[in-house]
Amino acid sequence: MTITRIRLRRFKRFTDWQADFGPGLTVVRGPNEAGKTTLMEAIFEGLFGNPARGEAVARLRSWGESRLGEITVGMRVGGGCYLLRKDLEAGTILLQREGGGDRVESLREVQRRLLEWIGLATEGAYRATAFVAQGDIARVGEDRRLLSTHLSRILSGAGSEGVQGALRWLAEQRPRLVADLPGGGGASDRASELLERQAALRQREERAQLHRLELREVAQKLEGVEREAAERAELARVARWVTDLHRREQALIEEEAATSEHLKRAEGLLNRLAEIEAGLAEFSSQQEALIAELFQARRQYLLAESGLSDAREQAVREERLLEHLATRHHNTARVSAMGWTLAGSSGILITGGALIAALLQHWIGGVLLASGAGIAIAALRYRGRTTEAGAVYRAQEQRVLELRRRLEMLQRQLAQAGELVADRLRAVGSTEIEEVERRFSSYMDLLREREEIRASLRQIRGSDPRAALEGRLREIAEELSSVRATIGTLPRGARRLPAGGVEQLEREGREAAGVLEDLRVRRARLEGVLEELRHHGGEGPRLTEEVAGLQARAARAAQSAEVIALTARMLEEARSQSVYPARELLERRAGQYLSTATGGAYNRVAIDERTLRTQVWAPSAGDWKEAGDLSQGMSDQLYLCLRLALLDVITEDRRPPVFLDEPFAHLDAERRRAMLTLLVAAAKDRQVVLFTCSPECDAIADRVIVLEPPQASGSGTPPVAGASPSGTGASL
C-alpha cells in the first residue's frame, strides 16, 4: 500500500493543506513548529481514527475554527487507487475506489480493509511498528535497559493495546468471577448457604411428618384414654351411687329398728304417764290449796320460831354486854371525885403561881402555873372518861330493853303461828304435819315423774310421738322399698362394688386424667410445631428459586472463568509462538538491515527467545555484544533495523508505509549518513516518509515536501502545498 496524497482541512494548524506522496523515500522538511509531528498524527488519524468519537476528536480542531475539519488520504493498493475521506465535523467516513464502484462507509469495514492491505492485525500494531516518533528513539537512547522491553512490546505485534493489555484485562476479570465460584463468598457460597437452609427446611418438613404421625398417634391414644376415663368415671359414679343406695338401705334399716324401739319405749312412758295422771287425780284442788295454806302456815311458824330463837340468842349477848358496861360505869363513877380534886388543886396552883409571878416575879410562880396546868389537864381527862362510860352504858341499856320487848312480840307471833298450823291441820283432816308432808311429797313425786315422762316423750318425737314414730316408720318402709327397687334395676355386675372399691376406681380415674393431661399437652405442643411449620410453608419455594438463581449465576461465572482462563492460556501460547518461530527470520532481516546501516561492520543479530534480549555480533571482538552495552548511536541503529525487520516479518512482506519523525537528530553526522543510507535501502521496496528539519536529507529523497513555519500575523497555517516536485496534483 502506498499513500499518494494527503489533504487536510481545519486540522490543528493546517487550515487547508495538501501534498502528493509517492513510493520510495519522501522527506517532509520544515523547521520546528512547522507541523511535521501534526502531519504524522494526521496521517494515522486519516487512516485509522474514528471520526465519530465525540470529544476525542475535538482536540483536532484547527486553531480559531469552530468547526472540525476533514482528512483525505489518497492511496494505491495493488492495481487500484482509493480515496479515504474522514469528515470530523460530520463524523462520517468514506472509502471509495477511484472511478466508482467500490464504496465503503462503515468504519469497521474500512479498518478491516486497511489492516488487510498493510498485513497487520490491529491499528495498534501498525502504530507501534511503522510510526517511529521522536520519543521512541530518544527514550531508547536515554535508557538502553529498556531496549528489550521495548522490543518485546514491538514483537507482540499489538503494542500496549495488544496482547499485554488483553492478558491484563483477562487477569482483572478473574477476581470478579472467582467471587461467584465456591469459596469466593459470592453467589456459589450464598447458594451453598441456602442449600443448607433448604436441607434444614426439608429436615423440618420430615420432622413435621413424624410430628404429624405422632400427633395422629397421640390423638388416637387421647381418644382411647378419654373413652377409658369416661368409662371409669361412669363406673365410679355408678359405684358411688350403688354404695350410697346400700348405705341408705342400711341406714333405713337401722333407723327403722331404732324407731321401733323408740315407739316401744314411748308406749311404756305413755302408760306410766296415764298411771301418774290417775294418781294425781286423787288430789283435789281444794286439798291442794289447804295443803298449800298449811305449808304456808307451817313456813310462817318455822320462821317465827327461827326469829325467836335468834332474838333470844341476841338478847343473851346484849345482856352480857350490859353487865360489862355496868361494871365499867361503876368504876368510872368511883374515880370521878378525884377529878374534881385535881381540878381544885390545879386552880389553886394556877392562882398562886399567877400571883407569885405577878407580884414577886419569881420563878416559883411559873412552876406553879405549869404544875397547875398539868393537873388541870389530868382532871379534865378523868372527867371525860367518866362521862363517856356513862353514855355507853346508857345506850346499851336501852338496846337490851328494846330487845326484851321484841322477844315478847316474837313469842306472841310464834304462838299465833302455832295456832294457825293447828287450825290448818285440822282443816286438812290430819293431826300431824309430818303425815301431811308425806302425802304431799308423794304428790310432788308424781308430778315430777309426769314432767320427766313428758320431757322424754318430747325428746322421742314431738308432741305426738306415737303418731310421729308411726309416720316415720311408714316413710322408712316406703323409702326402703324404693331403694331396694332401684338396686334391683341395676345390672347384676353393677350391684356389686369392684374389688378395690370406689376409691380404686377414683384413683384409676385420677391417673387416667393425668395421662389425659399429658397427652393434651403433647398434642398442643405438636400442633404448635405444625402450625409454626405451616406458617413458614412459603419459604421452601422461595429458597428453591433463590438457590436456582444463584446456582445459575455461579454456573455462568464458572463458564466465564473457564473461557477467560482458556483465552489467557491461548493468548500466552500465541504470544510465545508469534515471537519464537519468527525469531530466525527476524534475526536474518535485522542482520541485513544492520549490515546496510553499518556498512558491513555488523551483520548478525541474535534475539533471546525467553527474555527477548538482543545481541549483536562484534567481529572485532569475535563475540556477541549485548544491545545494552552498545553505544547510543549503535543501539538506535539496531533498534531501527529491528523495527524494519519486524515489519517485514509480521506483515509477511506486505511492506506498509513507514513514518519516521526526526529519528536521527541526536546522531553524529557519520551515523546519520549511515542511517539515511539504511532508509534509502529500505525505501527501495516500500514507502518511507521521513519528517525532518534538516535539508541534508533532500539529496537522498525521492520526493521532498516543505512545510513553512507559521507566519506571525497569519493564522499559522502552512502553505497549501509544499515544494513538492509533484506538488499540485489533482484535487482531493
Binding site: 405451616r534 428459586e545 473461557v563 482458556l566 483465552t567 491461548m570 493468548l571 509462538q577
Partner: protein, 394 residues
Amino acid sequence: MSGRMTLETMAITEPAEIQPGGGPAIYHLADVRLGGAFPFLGDAGSAHRLQVRDTFVRAVDQGLDPPPALVLITGNLFGTPFPPRDLAEFACSQIERFSKRGIPVLIAAGPLDACYEKVYAQGAFSDLDRVIVFPETPRAVEMRDLDLTVVGVSWGAAPVHAEALAAISVHRRQRYLVGALHMEIPESEEGLRALRRQIAASGAGYLALGGSPVRRDLSTEAVTAWCPGAPEMVVPEEGEGSPLLVRFEEGTAVQPVPVVQPVPVTKRRFVRYVFEPAAFNSTEELVEAIQALADPNHAAIIHLRGTSRINQFIDVDDLRNRLAGGFLSLEIVDDSLPSPADLEAATYPDLSVAGRFVGVARAEMARASDPEVKRRVGAALRLGLWLLEGRRPS
C-alpha cells in the same frame, strides 16, 4: 386391586346444573401448582406465585359460567405437600365456590402434593362439604343422579402406576364412567404407546389425567384422555395448558364420546428464541432484534446458535442486564461457534499474535471432541481476537 375398591354414592341436589338436553359436563383442571417453586424464574418466582393464584381465580370464574356438573382436579393443585396457611385458605375459598353451589369437587393428589398417611395437604379441604379427595387406592364415587361413576386414585407414599387404569372398567355401574388420576407421562415414543394401550384398556368414557404442564391429548380410538396442563405457566416448557370443559353428548351410544373444549385462562408463557450471531453486524443489532420480541409476560430463553464471526464477542451478561427488564425472566445462552471455514480463512498475519492465536484456536478446536469444549474454545477465540483488536466488554 379391585378388591380394595370402595363405592360411594353421592346425590346431585341441583339437577338444574346439568345442561338440558346433554350429558353431564365436567370441568377438568390439573397441575395448577398454587404454591409451587419456579426456579427457572429466579427472583420473579414469588410474584409469579401470585399470578398463578390470579389465574386460578380466573379458572374458577370460567368454570362457573356455566356451572358444570362436576369438577375434577387431577393432581398438583398445591404443588407442595405443606401448603402454608394462607395458601390453604385461598384454595379452600376457591374450591368452596364450586361446592357451595352444589357442584362436587373430586381431587386426585399428584406427586407434588401427595397424600401423606391418608391426609391431603394437611387436611386443607377436610371441612368442605362435597369435596372428596381420592385415597391412595382406587375408589369409585357413584353419582346416580348423573348416571356417572368416577374412579380415582391419589399419589401417596407410592406413585400411581398405569396399572391403576385397568381397574377402572371393573366398576362400570352407570352409563358414564370417568377415571381421574395423575400419572407420569413418559417421554419416549415406546412409553407413550404402552400408555395408550393401557388407556384404551381402561374402558372409561373420559380419562381425566394430570402430569403434563402443557395440554396433551392422549386419547385413543376407544377412550378420550386428556392432560389439561397448567392453567398458568409453571415450567420452562413451550406450549399452553388450560382447564378443560368435557361434555358428554346425549345419545344412544352405550359409551358416549365426550367433547373436550379448552378454556383458555393463561396469561404468561415460556418462549424460546434462536438467533445466529453471524447474521448481525453488531451487538446493537442483536439487542434491537431481541427488544422487538420483549414481553413482560414472557419467560424467555434466547439461544445464540449457529455461526458467529471469529472476532464477534457477545457479552452475554451485559446483554441480559440490558434486556431483562422487557421480559418476565430472560436467559441468554451463547452456543454459537465460529464456522470452520471462517476459521480457516482468517486473514491475520501468520506470525502476528492474532495470527498465532487463530492457529492455536484451530489446533484446540481440532483436538476437541466434546461439543462443550469446542464451544469453550470458540468463545475463547472470539473473546481473544476481540481483545487483541483493542476492544473491551463494557
